[in-house]
């Protein structure tokens, strides 16, 4: 299906509303997986369709995947009819923008063979088996998104995005104890991304770690100085900074689903932690899993300091939440598919690196724990009360790693966590994820990351 009707949709919707947008997305995807040495089949998808958004007394959207004007017009009419109901109708309109953009890929998705994809999965399954893993799941997916956007302000944007995603789950049994690891990698790229990942080494390390962690002692609960690895910095940045600064959450738009924010009712700047803490969301980072030059509402992407020097300092905004706040959108409007509304979403959210070397972080820790990665995690619906269970973790004694510890638990709150940060490392690593939000639920591709960080006097259990 091609976007043949997009101009006609915009013309018709614009003539009957105070503001209108038309969007067409065409998404092709492939997914292959291996489970415990067995190939699980291949799924390929192609979906495309139109979304129209109109504003009159309220905001209304409709979606159609028909290529017939009569069908599409019926959907647009449904949106127009409902836009005359009561409701909220603030929306940032902006100026005319005309541009096109594309993710550059060296090994293009369409040129990378099924045999090569299958071989990657099979090889990684073999590495897991050789490492003694009893549970082995490997999945590889790719997708290409072609997008066309028009609005009644005259904007015309087209985008062509290529994304690669690899995930695995591995489980081992050691002395009757089970340990598991789930990892996600992704990028806006071609298949050259997989070449540079060095997955075999990562998987090998992970399995070795699981065997050792399964046999490690549990912690005696108490207060410890801790060092967290980039994987934990990333999930913390995502869960307790990115989500609570989404402005649609702050004003209650997600209240019955993913919830609101501890920043609801607060004025920014608002202190959330020590001055060492800076958290950024940056959709303009080329190659990142959440990269885009223009968001799904035709607004140019930009880097945003969500937390600056320990203070909440900015929001993630889409057109609707910017309209309510009375400011310009900062390019955070994202949707997971052609038939879903754009919401205020994260892209690449990370704790900004500081100036401490990895070894320096250990200096002066008499009794501590180094938690390099995590397994279970969750957070309450205002993004304040959170839990992270360590996966690869070590005791620290007098500044030195002194043995493994099994599943140490950080159960804290956002301000306590960020307030305990006293040193931030120079390093920076990212993991991929799929961020869920909205009703219907929509998952968007994101990176989350950060450096190693030192936190003082944190209760572990």
């Amino acid at each position: 299906m091609e976007p043949d009707l997009i101009d006609k949709i915009l013309e018709y919707a614009s003539a009957n509303s105070s503001y209108a947008e038309a969007r067409f997305m065409d998404i092709t995807s492939n997914y292959l997986s291996y489970r415990n040495g067995e190939f699980e089949g291949l799924d390929f998808g192609r979906e495309s369709g139109y979304a129209v958004r109109v504003v009159n007394n309220s905001i209304s959207m409709a979606y159609s995947n028909s290529s017939r004007w009569d069908d599409v017009k019926r959907s647009v009419d449904m949106a127009l009819e409902r836009s005359r109901f009561r409701g909220k109708n603030s929306i940032y309109r902006g100026k005319e923008v005309k541009d096109s953009w594309k993710v550059q890929a060296k090994k293009k998705i369409e040129d990378f063979s099924i045999e090569d994809k299958s071989a990657i999965l099979k090889e990684n399954d073999s590495i897991m088996k050789d490492g003694g893993a009893s549970v082995r799941v490997n999945g590889l997916s790719d997708k290409r998104i072609r997008q066309f956007y028009r609005n009644s302000m005259g904007s015309e944007i087209s985008g062509d995005i290529s994304r690669i995603y690899y995930h695995y789950m591995v489980g081992v049994v050691e002395s009757g104890e089970f340990e598991q690891s789930v990892e996600h990698y992704g990028a806006s790229s071609g298949y050259e991304y997989i070449d540079g990942l060095n997955l075999q080494e990562k998987i090998g390390h992970d399995i070795s770690d699981l065997h050792q962690s399964a046999a490690a002692p549990r912690i005696n609960p108490g207060k410890f100085d801790i060092i967290v690895g980039p994987e934990i910095s990333g999930i913390v940045a995502h869960e307790s900074c990115g989500h609570p600064t989404e402005y649609d959450r702050i004003i209650g738009r997600e209240g019955a689903q993913a919830g609101e924010s501890f920043l609801t009712g607060k004025k920014i700047p608002f202190r959330i932690g020590s001055e060492a803490v800076n958290v950024i969301d940056d959709p303009s980072m080329e190659g990142s899993f959440g990269y885009y030059r223009y968001d799904d509402e035709g607004v140019k992407s930009r880097k945003r300091y969500l937390y600056k020097d320990g203070m909440a300092s900015d929001y993630i905004l889409n057109r609707e939440s910017a309209g309510i706040l009375g400011v310009e959108s900062n390019g955070g409007g994202r949707t997971a598919s052609w038939n879903l509304e754009p919401l205020a979403r994260m892209s690449t959210t990370y704790i900004e690196p500081g100036n401490h070397g990895f070894e320096e972080l250990f200096d002066g820790i008499k009794k501590g724990v180094y938690i390099k990665s995590f397994t279970e995690w969750n957070i309450d619906d205002i993004r304040f009360n959170e839990k992270y269970v360590g996966k690869e973790a070590y005791f620290i004694t007098d500044g030195e790693v002194s043995g493994r510890v099994r599943r140490p638990v950080i159960e804290t709150n956002t301000i306590s966590f960020y307030s305990a940060v006293d040193a931030v490392g120079k390093d920076l690593e990212f993991n991929a994820g799929t961020c869920g939000k909205g009703d219907p639920m929509q998952g968007v591709d994101v990176w989350m990351g950060g450096p190693h960080m030192r936190l003082r006097s944190v209760h572990l259990q």
């Binding site: 489970r35 409709a62 209240g255 804290t412 639920m441």
Partner: protein, 436 residues
Amino acid sequence: MTSPDLDSLMKKLTSRGFHEIALQYTKTRTEQVRFSQNTEDLHNYWDESSVSVFAAKGKRTVSTTIADFADADETVNRLWEISDRIPENPRFVGLNPEKVKYTKPQDSIDSEYDLQDMSVNLVNSAIENGAERTAGVLYNRSHSITVKTNHNECTYETGGLEVLIRSFRDDRTGQEARHFGKSIRVDSKTIQQIGKGSAQPLSLARESADIKPGKYRVLMSPYVIGNIISYSSDFLSYHSVESGLSCFADLLGKQVSDSGLTLMDDPLDTGGVGFRLCDNEGTPTRKNTLIGNGVLKSYMHSYSTAKRNGAETTGNAGILNPTAWQLKISPGKVDSEKLLSQLDDGLWINNCWYTRYQDYRNAVFSTVPRDGAFYVKNGEVKGIAKGIRISDSVPSILGNVKAVSRDTKTVKWWEEIGPSSMPSVLVDSVNISKGF
């Protein structure tokens, strides 16, 4: 796209050389109203149709979804080309070859609803009962579905009304999330009761109770047990069992819960939106007892998993990964109000979310209470239990069930609870953790 296109698509796939084919045509019309701060945010309308395709050449399996039938020839060629280049899928044994008959479901009731009026009614009821502000969503869905395989063809209608409202008063919240299938006509009184129910937890307590981490007797509302059961239903799929990722492995015929607990999958109940007449390979669905009187009776099976396990399909395909359609815990003998009044020292938790596992094999998880968690002493709510988490395991929760309420609710909430019918459940020795 129209349903008769399935015949030509089946012919194309068969003549291309595929041995086993399962097609599922879905035509959906959905209307939605989202609201927050007591006012509508967005009206949404979807008009979509597509065909999902599963095709096998021997044990080489491919799947896709066709949204534009103009692409059908290209898609068939692509499926065939792919099928020659992928490894065999040992998990696929075949589609259910048995010629079957389908039961006629209860007649649908005309389900035209004015969601705009309904949302106003819902919000007003919550406000009249103590809410300062509300957020939520209403859906009215209609799905026309045809499943066609080499062996069978099944057509049915499903969908219904979903009503979600969350009420807020300062930092207190309450929530109701209900679903009603096509055989139910929802009147304004029911909507008012849902609005009122969402506000009910707001007035139960104002002060916080000092809750220490430890083991508690917990009265879990239909939303809490619904969440835990929804998140753990995959463990009852034989796909998870044979993958080494189920806490129910090797427990068939063994006691896994109190004798008062019976868990079923009941997709034939047209009172819920989880109604479906057949599974994804055309097997008629049926009411399956998964846990009967505390004993693990059955795993969920497709034809392929059943053959691998030496069992019969239970009509839960997912051709490769069986799944639950509409879970139910059978009613017990005591009203939930009485269970609360008899709670001498424990917690009553009204809802939870963000359930995550640190260990799938042993089903070790935590979940975060919301929308009302209270400390109860001698049957009376004494205060709000803030900042707590249920940090436990599914075997432990099921093993410590002490009572199941007589009253049940149809519950379905966002990504957290699949379409279900759940009672309140009293569970002993639930591990409660808390942040520092």
